[in-house]
């Protein structure tokens, strides 16, 4: 949360000016949190940021829905819109909106000069007036309606909303007074007016919180009244309905089995090396498609058909809570999905095992045959392919470092040379190092690694610490060595601290006590280490002797015991790409040099090896190199071959912590599918609460497509960074066969289109956030590439899925509550 730090720094700076710091700082903390919870545009990193984003979004949504619902009631009950003077003024304000946008568009396309009234622009003045009038009209409508039709709680909410407005204004003014308003230009002078305007911005969010509190109060009663046995019976009902009415799960199972049985109709056999990757991705895609299609068809149909066939009466006439109806249905469908995922997982794992391991065995057999027939190139190639396939059928846990570069003169840079390779913005940036020069790519590991992209005068630190315990088990020789070195370093650090002047006597005794204790500890560990090493050496000697004597079984078991005492060698995996400027000698690979060094003990290992592009190159270093590293390591890679370049991205080199279990990882991948199905279930049930079944079905399908395929487009749309304008301008471009970049001549039609767009786009871009980000829940690429899906990733994905599921189901509950269930 570095921006948090920046903020704290700002506060600290400001508070440094005032001498009475203590009292002030408590207020400042309160102000800071109020700012965080109110400002919609600022999001700190991490879990806190996610929570803030969600709660602010939900509160804004609640605000819009609540106000909208009451205004609709107001109009229906004729509290407003019945010909009063305020109605005409409000109407005039609404009509002024397009006029204002028109004026702005004309100014932007230079068809008319920019007018100003005093310090404000004409368009700004008009916008403020419009906002004031409409706010006044809404105020009036709300007060009239709620006082007549609302309960006491609603009146309280209204009062709370006004309090929230005052709170927001107060916060804004206080921030302006303390020179803490965020400005475009640093140290810009801010006025009271700026503070007030900013405060209004915050108050919109605060009003949302007031409404959120009311909604929570409404919900709490419902939540406490829910019973699990009723949810269970509704769930059972949904499952039976799905099974009997549509045989949905059976259809899905049969289609899955058919697709698997006849894969060779659809998939040409791919290269052996990446066959696993393709198959895994395809299988997860098939599972995901089948399940989401099943959910998309089942869920929006269940409630509407119940309502249409009036079987809903049999349910609502019983003491079933509305929320139980919603959640019960969701639980039922998710139970179905869970069972299907378990079956799919088992079948596809079996299929993968059979096909992929079959291929690995065949490839290795062909390699042995090639070796016997003296076809060295074929042998090497086939072994690499089998190896690559094996590494993809794993769940590797990488330990990644931070990448920085030295250029051909040895100057440090954040990036290497750009050779003109087209790069996707979605992936990590790649850059290259020149061969036969001091150019190097350096991976730094440690708890305080300098971020190469941070400015030199304000370095940012990132944590890339190596978990040494997972590489050097404490019960091994190297583990003991590491422990011993760590304690020795502690002694040195303590002695250095002890040597400082002006220490208190308490600190001196503490340090000296620590030094003595640690010295004793070092001796103890040293004894253990020596003993274990001796034992290991003895075992090795015995194994060699047994082998020489021909007792191979004994030798093998002794050697195994010897290996058990030592830590495994550490594997470093890398996937670089090669850029050649000349062909060089035909058939000769590009060579790389890797230098692994332990910054604390000075131990290093250097090796030179050929790089095979697009395969996982593997090097092994001795575990002693890592002993005493305190989690720090430095790996430098240089290109040895002259006139050639090696390209790398940060994730291209890592220490392999464990191979993992592919089956478990695959099921984690399917869990991502489960989460997608859960979100879609919520949307389907929500749509079914108030729409007829064809419209509900279409709505669910549209949400699915928007979230799965069009999400990146929607994000661009919400940032209004689409080239070629909004829907109306695009229509003109399409009909006129213009491309997206050409300037349109400012004819009347174009001006009108741009005006409409500037009215529509901000509104539409708000709605974009309602579409769930299905792509983010999909971890199939990680699984297919053979990397482990971490538990933290799964947790954050689950939270993301819940962040969509909960609001949809709650909105569905409110709609169901308020509607008449007669069709």
């Amino acid at each position: 949360m570095s921006s948090h730090l920046v903020q704290i720094l700002l506060w600290a700076q400001a508070s440094g000016a005032a001498p009475a710091a203590q009292n002030f700082s408590r207020w400042r903390k309160v102000l800071f949190w109020l700012f965080l919870y109110g400002e919609p545009a600022f999001t700190p990193e991490g879990l806190l940021g996610g929570w803030l984003l969600w709660i602010r979004g939900i509160s804004l949504l609640c605000f819009v829905c609540w106000v909208g619902a009451w205004i609709v009631t107001a109009i229906k009950e004729r509290c407003v819109a019945r010909g009063g003077w305020f109605d005409y003024v409000g109407l005039a304000a609404v009509l002024t909106i397009p006029v204002t946008m028109l004026i702005r568009t004309l100014e932007a396309s230079k068809q008319m000069p920019v007018y100003a009234v005093g310090p404000l622009l004409l368009t700004s003045l008009l916008s403020y007036l419009v906002l004031l009038v409409i706010a006044f009209w809404i105020e009036l409508g709300l007060w009239r309606t709620i006082l007549r039709f609302g309960k006491r709680a609603d009146v309280l909410v209204l009062v709370g909303m006004h309090l929230a407005i005052f709170l927001g204004l107060a916060v804004g003014v206080l921030m302006q007074r303390s020179d803490l308003l965020p400005t475009f230009v640093p140290n810009q002078r801010t006025t009271l007016g700026d503070g007030l305007v900013y405060g209004l911005r915050l108050s919109v969010t605060y009003m949302g919180y007031a409404i959120l509190a009311r909604i929570f109060a409404l919900l709490i009663g419902e939540l406490l009244a829910m019973r699990s046995r009723r949810i269970y019976s509704i769930a059972q009902l949904s499952v039976h309905e799905a099974n009997r009415r549509m045989w949905a799960p059976w259809v899905v199972l049969i289609v899955f089995a058919l697709v698997l049985a006849f894969t060779h109709w659809f998939l040409q056999p791919p290269r052996a090396a990446e066959m696993g990757r393709l198959y895994v991705a395809t299988l997860i895609l098939v599972c995901s498609l089948l399940l989401t299609v099943m959910v998309t068809i089942l869920t929006p149909l269940s409630l509407p058909t119940d309502i249409q066939q009036q079987t809903i009466y049999t349910v609502v006439s019983k003491p079933v809570r509305r929320l139980e109806l919603i959640w019960g249905r969701m639980v039922g469908f998710m139970a179905l999905v869970t069972v299907l995922i378990a079956i799919f997982g088992a079948i596809s794992l079996g299929y993968l095992w059979r096909t992929v391991y079959d291929t690995i065995t065949r490839t290795e057999a062909a390699a042995v045959k090639a070796k016997n027939e003296n076809r060295t190139r074929d042998f090497a190639q086939l072994m690499e392919q089998a190896d690559q396939l094996r590494s993809r059928m794993a769940a590797r846990v990488p330990v990644k470092g931070s990448l920085s570069f030295l250029d051909s003169r040895g100057t440090p840079h954040a990036m290497g040379i750009d050779v003109g390779m087209e790069q996707s913005t979605m992936r990590e940036p790649r850059s290259h190092i020149e061969g036969a020069t001091p150019a190097a790519a350096i991976w730094s590991f440690g708890s305080r690694v300098v971020d190469p992209f941070s400015p030199a005068n304000r370095p940012k630190f990132i944590n890339r610490k190596i978990p040494v315990q997972s590489f050097l088990p404490p019960s091994s020789v190297e583990g003991l060595l590491d422990r011993m070195l760590e304690v020795q370093f502690q002694i040195v650090a303590d002695e250095r601290a002890r040597a400082q002047a002006d220490l208190t006597s308490g600190e001196i005794t503490r340090l000296e006590g620590g030094i003595t204790r640690n010295r004793a500890l070092v001796e103890k560990i040293r004894a253990e280490y020596e003993a274990m090493r001796q034992r290991a050496d003895d075992l090795e000697a015995q194994a060699a002797a047994a082998e020489a004597a021909g007792k191979l079984d004994d030798a093998r078991s002794l050697f195994r015991q010897y290996r058990a005492l030592h830590a495994d060698p550490i594997t470093i995996e890398m996937t670089f790409n090669v850029y050649r400027t000349t062909k060089g000698k035909v058939g000769e690979p590009v060579l790389a040099e890797m230098q692994v060094s332990n910054p604390h003990t000075g131990k290093e290992e250097i090796s030179i090896f050929p790089i095979k592009e697009y395969y996982t190159n593997r090097r092994v270093i001795k575990p002693e190199t890592l002993a005493g590293s305190l989690g720090d390591l430095r790996i430098e890679v240089r290109c040895v071959s002259p006139t050639q370049y090696l390209g790398m991205a940060e994730s291209d080199l890592y220490l392999l912590s464990s191979q993992g279990n592919f089956g478990e990882n695959y099921m984690k991948g399917l869990f991502g599918v489960w989460l997608q199905a859960m979100v879609l279930t919520a949307i389907g049930v929500f749509a079914g609460t108030f729409l007829s079944w064809p419209v509900a079905l279409l709505t669910t399908v549209v949400f699915f497509f928007a979230g799965q395929l069009a999400y990146s487009f929607l994000i661009d749309f919400s940032r209004q960074s689409i080239v070629g304008g909004g829907p109306f301008e695009s229509l003109i471009r399409l009909l006129g066969h213009e491309n997206q970049l050409s300037e349109l001549a400012p004819t009347a039609g174009v001006i009108v289109a741009k005006t409409l767009d500037s009215l529509l786009m901000p509104v539409m871009s708000m709605f974009v956030y309602v579409v769930p980000n299905f792509q983010a829940l999909d971890v199939s690429n990680t699984v297919a590439d053979g990397f482990a899906v971490g538990w933290s990733t799964m947790l954050s994905n689950t939270l993301l899925a819940l962040a969509y599921t909960l609001p949809f189901s709650i909105v569905g509950y409110f709609i169901l509550r308020n509607r008449e269930v007669a069709a």
């Binding site: 109709w265 040409q268 990446e274 190139r377 087209e422 058939g587």
Partner: protein, 489 residues
């Protein structure tokens, strides 16, 4: 009518209609066969393709194909080669009769994707994928000469003329996939398995030429008696083998010639050159192919008015190499002009004469002496090298007496000049000088100024190493312990 009667009537109608479908379907199938319109007539039926087209209800094919193309381009940008291949396979399942995609994507795989991979083995794998891809296209579109030509071209050009061709040809030779190395022999009509990519190129080029000829014959004669000419709404334009495509018809001869050229040097890493009767026969076959091309009659593109009638002359390219006929009154000026123009366009006189020169016993013997001499030179066995070079050059001079065009050719002069230069060096080392009237002495100056090597000769590119002379390698390629012969000449 009562309800029951209506039911019976409708039932009878249904059964009648159903019954009428059988003879109708049979007639339709017959029509399809006559006009070569059915799927089976176009090529092999692919169940998966059929399923996918059915699933997408035919109409959505275009949209899905567009989407898949875009994804394929994204995969290429992200260097995700395997996904690119599977996307492209899907597109061909959706639109198997869209010929451009077979041509474009096979070229994409064999050329663009192969070049991105560093190791020659991986390049070979992708070239093979490209060839197999377009061979599937041929299976689906049997009557298209374009796809057959594209297959032949990748075998011939990418495997034979790329920078790594000495290694690629070795990988092709060692490939155990017999289906990949099979072609139907144009003369005997049986499937043969060959181990040289140029031979495969020859087989597929011949097939392409035969298809064009059959198509031309079919168009003029028809497959059935009263067949109407089908008017296609949107016919696939034929790229190759149109009536004016002269170069197309030289390809079988060129492929065979390059096979023969490759035989007489180490053009395949680790495989010694072949001489003697085998080489002679291959050169003779090459000559036969060239002559077959030469005597074929073409029609001149221009119209001449002769005796009041509009006439297109019949041209034979071989006439250019027959001075008696060429300069006689047998040929009109127009025929002379086109024969000369096309002959120089295809370099026919050079190739024909070269084949003639190389097919002689003297030619083969000289080549063998040059090869053995060069090997001796590279291993510093100078006495052996000198003897072979001297004997070879004398025989070569004697041979080229009868072949003036080939003698004056630049490539031949370069090759010969290199031998002479090396011979002179050996002599200088031994303290002697090149005799005054030594054959090809005039080529020395140019040879000394030319530092380039023949990239298709493994001895020139890599020297004499365990890898090139076929012994088991003692060290991995690229390791610093491998012995390097002195570079340059």
């Amino acid at each position: 009518m009562t309800n029951n009667q209506k039911k019976i009537l409708y039932g009878l109608l249904i059964v009648l209609l159903f019954g009428a479908m059988f003879p109708y379907t049979a007639w339709l199938a017959e029509e399809k066969k006559n006009r070569d319109l059915g799927e089976a007539a176009l090529g092999q039926i692919d169940t998966g393709s059929f399923m996918m087209k059915l699933f997408l209800l035919g109409g959505f094919r275009g949209i899905v194909a567009n989407y898949l193309w875009l994804r394929a381009e994204e995969n290429k940008r992200d260097h995700d080669w395997d996904r690119l291949k599977s996307n492209v396979d899907f597109i061909t399942k959706l639109q198997p009769h869209f010929l451009s995609i077979w041509t474009f994507q096979s070229w994409n795989l064999a050329y663009n994707v192969a070049v991105e991979w560093d190791a020659p083995e991986d390049k070979y794998e992708w070239i093979k994928q490209g060839i197999q891809f377009v061979q599937r296209g041929v299976d689906h579109n049997r009557n298209s000469p374009d796809l057959v030509y594209d297959t032949a071209w990748i075998y011939y050009h990418k495997l034979g003329f790329s920078d790594e061709s000495i290694i690629l040809r070795r990988l092709f030779r060692d490939d155990e996939d017999e289906r990949f190395k099979t072609y139907r022999d144009p003369v005997t009509g049986i499937n043969v398995i060959k181990h040289d990519n140029f031979q495969l190129g020859y087989g597929w080029f011949s097939r392409s030429v035969d298809l064009v000829d059959a198509g031309a014959n079919r168009l003029t004669e028809g497959t059935a008696e009263n067949v109407q000419q089908i008017q296609y709404v949107d016919p696939s334009p034929q790229r190759k083998g149109r009536p004016d495509d002269i170069a197309f018809r030289t390809m079988p001869a060129l492929a065979q010639t390059h096979y023969a050229i490759g035989l007489e040097k180490m053009s395949t890493l680790g495989v010694e050159a072949t001489f003697g009767e085998v080489a002679k026969n291959e050169w003779a076959r090459a000559l036969a192919e060239w002559v077959k091309f030469g005597v074929r009659t073409f029609v001149a593109p221009n119209v001449i008015i002769r005796d009041g009638k509009e006439v297109r002359d019949v041209i034979t390219i071989d006439d250019r190499t027959n001075p008696e006929k060429f300069f006689s009154k047998e040929l009109t000026d127009n025929q002379r002009y086109w024969s000369d123009r096309w002959a120089s366009q295809t370099n026919y006189p050079y190739w024909k004469e070269r084949c003639e020169a190389e097919a002689t016993p003297k030619g083969v013997e000289a080549r063998q002496l040059f090869y053995e001499g060069t090997k001796a030179y590279k291993t510093a066995d100078f006495d052996q090298a000198a003897a072979k070079f001297k004997e070879g050059l004398l025989i070569w001079k004697d041979n080229l007496k009868d072949f003036p065009v080939y003698r004056e050719d630049d490539m031949n002069k370069k090759d010969t000049g290199l031998i002479v230069m090396r011979y002179e060096r050996i002599l200088l080392q031994q303290g002697e000088k090149l005799p005054e009237n030594f054959p090809f002495k005039g080529l020395l100056a140019e040879a000394k100024a030319d530092p380039t090597r023949d990239p298709f000769d493994a001895i020139e590119m890599l020297g004499v190493t365990p890898e090139t002379i076929g012994k088991p390698g003692t060290s991995a390629p690229g390791s610093p312990t491998q012995t390097q012969p002195p570079g340059g000449h």
